[in-house]
């Protein structure tokens, strides 16, 4: 994979611009409630895709990702409906349960490699989903869990009710920015380098003294923890979850965001998730063409834009360079 010119370039300015744009977005759309909803959906998709990208830095893609999002969502929802504790507790309980479960499952799962990993992780995702459905009394079965209320933040002098969509937008934005930031920092750190070393050549990495197995488990666990938090946020925003909310299509669409956006930098999944969520929304009124067109966009971007959206800046630069030479 060619990532000589992309991974090294410091894009702080672009990131700051994107964050500013996201902060100002509600003002720019004139507080249109529906568009704010789209913004929240984008946030969730960005968090899902970037944390999947983190697993990708090991060289594999996990189809259990939506399942772990479900674990976070269910944990937080049940903590509210059964124990009466608000999302401020559920969020962390969901994250911890996601993490524990991810660590436990990663030990056998990481024995499999390459294409077999996709499939083993897919089996894990299916079993998670089907357990939510099978244990009706505890998880509510296919019926799902209703009335997952959004939290209220009581600062003493100020009360913020997150049932308000604008407030939830900023809450989601905060967490997604945090997720992306954590992944960005991890990736730029020495640990991130180790993961990419495993990605490039597992055998070689092992021979240079890297404990490949431990690194893999650690990376998988962190990614699943982050997606567990996303799941909790998702549950309290949707106020309703069911096993079907976390099926294989969710993981697959996260993968599509990743591939269309680009695989080598954290900017890839962010760009992919933002653009494709908007495309999907724009196509809502078109019926069958919604799926057909999505498929066309996917194939076209793989074949005509190898490397994804993240390569566009470099392409433009190259275009200008060529022109100036002429």
């Amino acid at each position: 994979m060619d990532k000589t010119d992309i991974i090294a370039s410091p894009n702080r300015l672009v990131w700051a611009g994107l964050l500013l744009l996201a902060l100002a977005a509600p003002f720019l759309v004139g507080f249109d409630l529906y568009l704010i909803h789209v913004g929240i959906t984008i946030s969730f998709n960005v968090a899902l895709a970037t944390s999947l990208w983190m697993i990708w830095s090991l060289g594999v893609i996990s189809f259990a990702h939506a399942g772990f999002m479900g674990i976070g969502a269910y944990a937080s929802a049940l903590v509210l409906t059964k124990l009466g504790l608000s999302m401020w507790y559920g969020l962390w309980i969901g994250a911890v349960i996601s993490a524990l479960f991810a660590m436990l499952i990663a030990v056998p799962l990481m024995r499999t490699r390459a294409v077999y990993f996709f499939m083993a992780s897919w089996a894990v995702g299916e079993v998670i989903k089907r357990n939510f459905a099978y244990f009706k009394d505890f998880f509510g079965g296919w019926d799902g869990v209703f009335d997952i209320k959004p939290p209220v933040l009581d600062l003493g002098f100020l009360q913020i009710d997150f049932a308000d969509r604008l407030a939830y937008y900023y809450l989601a934005l905060f967490f997604v920015a945090l997720t992306v930031w954590i992944i960005y920092r991890m990736n730029a750190s020495r640990t991130g380098m180790i993961w990419w070393a495993i990605h490039e050549n597992e055998l070689l990495a092992q021979h240079t003294g890297i404990n490949v197995f431990r690194q893999k488990v650690v990376c998988f666990t962190i990614a699943c923890t982050l997606v567990g938090v996303t799941g909790a946020l998702y549950a309290h925003y949707q106020t309703y979850i069911s096993p079907k909310s976390f099926d294989i299509w969710k993981s697959e669409f996260a993968l599509v965001h990743l591939i269309v956006g680009g695989l080598t930098t954290v900017g890839g999944p962010v760009a992919g998730a933002i653009s494709l969520t908007m495309v999907d929304e724009a196509l809502r009124a078109t019926g069958y063409f919604r799926t057909i067109f999505f498929g066309v966009v996917l194939i076209a971007s793989v074949l005509l834009l190898p490397g994804g959206l993240e390569t566009i800046p470099a392409r433009i630069r190259r275009l200008f360079n060529r022109k100036s030479k002429e």
Binding site: Y34, G141, R290
Partner: protein, 407 residues
């Protein structure tokens, strides 16, 4: 050759000019000039238009599309002597809860729709999260999820007669056809999701009401392809008849075929499979003894024939399911005219509950369920029961469900 193209260009140019003038006119001319143009009422559809359940969504959307065109052509809805035109906006939900919620948000918040229709449980659950708090009237086809229906959801109407109400028409019919003593035990086969569990619950209530013993209830996965195992388990101790609610036509046909091949001869009733051609094609000679409630395969009245003809012209296809949904919009029209408003959804909801239509594709229609749910929000209509005998499907019985007094 040269002579043909200029008129076309002229035409296009003229069209563009007219269009531009028409667009610019409201900006230039005072508003009073346009007071003659009728007002519009917007109805939004949050229905699955893509994905595996697109069939249901399109059938529902066709009913509204056709109905709006018919009503508009006849001068629109007359509210307090003023004509209102109907505009229908459809958004895809993929048959998913979260996506349906998004579609409904868009309808309510961006398109300012006050009336939303939906189809199937997942889309309905997502839609209801939005419509009821926003004071938007909703009209859906959804069985089960009875927690989300009744007094606490006064603006929520379930237009499609569910498997429960149907039972009060097709079970008496079957008792007459096969004899009461021949139908003492029953078994249930349904999907293992919420739809299946809910339908099993209403099936059980029905069996209790008619004093029929339940032998077994089996649930399959949507991923299953072969129904031999599940049918073999059901008929290990053969029941007098089998109910396959709410299995879609393809699965029902496979269940019927498996049951017949494994030697089961009793009647099989399927309250959700309205595609008789599918069942005949798949099960072939095995399809005899199949009872399909609320399936009108042969339109007989003038209204029914007219619906079939219009759908064929407008959409190129027609199926009994789309016919079953074609009356919804007319009941809304009657409610608007009765309430004298299209703005106050509460008043419209009160009026809609009173609406009775005499002549629709499904015959006589009214809203019921006061005693069961606290409000009359469940659509009840004539049950056209089709049976298959010697490879031919025909409507054998038409009757209004004989609902119990405490319904």
């Amino acid at each position: 050759m040269r002579k043909t193209s200029p008129p076309l260009l002229m035409n296009r140019r003229r069209l563009l000019t007219t269009g531009a003038v028409a667009l610019a006119a409201p900006a230039i001319l005072p508003r009073s000039v346009f007071s003659q143009t009728p007002k519009t009422i917007r109805i939004g559809g949050a229905v699955p238009l893509s994905g595996p359940v697109a069939y249901w969504g399109h059938s529902t959307a066709q009913g509204f599309g056709d109905g709006a065109a018919v009503i508009n052509a006849a001068g629109g809805v007359m509210i307090n002597g003023e004509p209102h035109m109907i505009e229908v906006i459809d958004y895809d939900t993929k048959g998913e809860v979260a996506d349906s919620r998004a579609a409904t948000l868009r309808l309510v918040e961006q398109d300012k729709v006050k009336y939303v229709y939906s189809q199937a449980a997942a889309s309905t659950v997502g839609m209801l999260q939005v419509t009821e708090p926003a004071g938007v009237l909703s009209i859906v086809a959804c069985w089960g999820y009875l927690d989300l229906f009744g007094k606490n959801y006064p603006l929520h109407f379930r237009a499609e007669t569910s498997d429960y109400e149907q039972g009060f028409a097709y079970i008496p019919f079957m008792q007459e056809k096969y004899g009461k003593d021949a139908l003492k035990t029953a078994a249930f086969i349904g999907p293992n999701d919420q739809d299946g569990t809910d339908c099993h619950a209403s099936y059980k209530r029905l069996m209790d009401y008619y004093g029929i013993t339940q032998k077994s209830a089996e649930f399959y996965n949507w991923e299953d392809t072969d129904f031999y195992p599940i049918v073999a388990k059901t008929i290990a101790d053969p029941p007098d008849f089998i109910v396959t609610s709410p299995s879609p036509p393809g699965i029902t046909a496979s269940i019927i075929k498996a049951a017949r091949e494994l030697g089961y001869t009793g009647p099989i009733s399927s309250p959700a499979a309205s595609e008789t051609t599918t069942i005949l094609e798949v099960a072939g000679e095995h399809a005899d003894g199949v009872v399909l409630p609320v399936t009108n395969v042969s339109p007989s009245t003038d209204t029914q024939k007219a619906v079939e003809k219009r759908f064929m012209e407008r959409f190129g296809t027609f199926n009994a399911l789309a016919g079953n949904y074609s009356w919804w919009i007319y009941s809304l029209k009657a409610a608007w005219e009765m309430a004298g408003t299209a703005e106050d959804t509460k008043a419209v909801a009160e009026a809609l509950a009173q609406v009775q239509l005499e002549d629709t594709y499904v015959g006589r229609v009214k809203w019921g369920g006061e005693k069961s749910f606290g409000v009359a929000r469940q659509g009840i209509y004539d049950c056209y029961t089709t049976t298959i005998d010697k490879g031919v499907a025909q409507v054998e019985d038409v009757r209004f469900p004989a609902l119990p007094d405490d319904y």
